[in-house]
Symmetry: C2
Subunit: 331 residues, 2 copies
């Protein structure tokens, strides 16, 4: 059990002196995640310390912190802990995903199952998942009549699992439709962004009826994030992406650029089945308009998210969320 006496957020009084700037909160979140990984029980510390060597861009923590910003433009220590919990949850899902996907590289370093073996990686994912929930369970909402974060999180995680299962079940399925693809990414990627937005909202001073707008922005941002990632798989370099390019394609994960290209160019499927070099495949997807079509979908979602953000109250929060949206598109 987490030693809750060590955690600053146990203080429910939430005095003004506790309030923290966004950039400082982000820095504290990264520190907290590293601390939790480096101070894990000795049984698992080798594995969690390996994970601490490379952290991500913290998009989900940034989202949660931005959503939690109060009218004074600040957040509380408990929000930092919630953001750390969300990043740990994300990390736990990545560990299991990498097993499912046979991925060798993540955030520029060996994946856990490659370095330590598949079994310990399953257990390590389970452990971080539970640790994150334990952390989240200790975080009170900002007002007593709001749901606790630990009450709203699990339903998003069933969605994430179903998204992952949907993706895995459709490995190598060239008949996957655009509609099915969007359903999969709504689970595997967007649900965690929704969870981050929902948790941030619960820790904010927004009125209760605003919750739904937050969750909807989270969904759009999550989908954009995945669409951009799916484009990168076809157009980026390994160095830039910090993971192998065409990795999705090689392991049979069918994404929107390819789905569109297969529809637009009905000779493509035959060519793939007869064997295409990676360069030829990239060129074919580009020529068939797969990347451009995916980008048009990104723009659509970007506009939707932008409009939803505009309905929120505070200028500071709007700016933060718009920056995040632009960061997601520019990845």
């Amino acid at each position: 059990m987490i030693n809750r006496s060590n955690l600053a957020f146990i203080n429910d009084s939430d005095p003004a002196t506790d309030r923290i700037e966004y950039d400082e909160a982000l820095r504290l979140t990264e520190l907290e995640v590293r601390k939790l990984l480096r101070n894990a029980p000795s049984l698992i510390r080798r594995q969690t310390s390996h994970l601490a060597r490379a952290t991500g861009k913290g998009m989900r923590a940034r989202a949660l912190l931005a959503c939690a910003l109060g009218r004074d433009g600040l957040v509380t220590q408990r929000t930092v802990n919630a953001a750390a919990a969300i990043e740990l949850l994300h990390l736990a899902t990545l560990i299991h995903d990498d097993i499912i996907d046979d991925a060798d590289l993540r955030r520029g370093i060996d994946t856990l199952h490659v370095k330590f073996g598949q079994k310990i990686a399953v257990l390590c994912g389970d452990y971080l998942f539970c640790l994150a929930f334990d952390l989240a369970a200790a975080i009170p909402p900002r007002e007593t009549d709001r749901d606790k974060i630990s009450v709203v999180l699990p339903s998003y995680f069933t969605k994430i699992c179903l998204g992952e299962i949907g993706e895995f079940s459709n490995t190598g399925n060239f008949d996957l439709t655009e509609r099915e693809y969007f359903k999969i990414i709504a689970g595997k990627t967007a649900a965690l962004f929704q969870a981050s937005f929902h948790a941030g909202f619960l820790l904010s001073d927004e009125p209760p009826e605003a919750g739904n707008v937050y969750i909807r922005i989270g969904k759009q941002l999550g989908i954009i994030f995945q669409l951009v990632d799916d484009c990168l798989d076809f157009i980026s370099s390994t160095k830039k992406a910090k993971k192998p390019v065409l990795a999705d394609y090689r392991r049979g994960v069918i994404t929107l650029p390819l789905i569109y290209a297969l529809q637009a160019d009905n000779t493509l499927r035959g060519k793939i089945e007869n064997g295409l070099s990676e360069g030829e495949l990239k060129a074919a997807v580009l020529a068939a308009g797969g990347i451009e079509y995916t980008r048009s979908k990104i723009r659509e979602r970007w506009s939707k998210a932008k409009k939803l953000i505009a309905t929120l109250g505070s200028e500071n929060k709007k700016n933060r969320l718009e920056l995040l949206l632009d960061k997601a598109v520019a990845l």
Copy 2:
């Protein structure tokens, strides 16, 4: 997300008409678990329906229901849902355990990873874990000043993961001490019993200060349960155990009967390393007193649990918990 409008426990008013006898509650729990497995989303229904074919003895559900019994000797519908959540959590841990242990058979049927593959089994375990937490998150405590079940559960699950990791890390370690062994089983088995007792207590009408006694009984019962299981691995038949005998030993899990026998008979380790038939190993562990010693530990724990149960208020609850204790010993 679980469609909470379908769940009876959403009614927070908890009227007297909702109150259910223990046996009926146990039957409803089993039905609820099967229903959740059989009505899972179509993507995963083949796997969950396979699991629904063989359910366990429901020891953790029985424990939770017994602890939740009110002064009137009855429980509420929400207690049934909590018991179903605990059984699903147990099932989720079994799925991952069986992957880690390379187990082929569980509850008399093929394990999930043998039947459907390791990757889908990892995801299916994750899904059931999240589903159970989602179910638990919707259950209000009996009184507003009690912790919610979803708040107390995660810390037990970090313990379970660490117990599993401890066991896995000590595969084939003939130097494992009795103390280390007890630490491992306190996590991998006893923590879920503690969670069941804690959750049952939160749904009971016992005074808040009684919580600790419940958790302590849960720990003793969980340890007894594991000690009995570890004896059975040496003395039962496959048919009776519904899983292969000497399964632990074959996969390098060192348990108390063997730990004791290795200490009592200092020729045994050499014999094992030179190769012993299964019959010879069983005979050697028995002759060295490994089974008798483990049984003495079971009796010690049984006495401790019995004394703790005697301190509880209601006769009805005492009887139920004593029956459960005797059932654990008689397995």
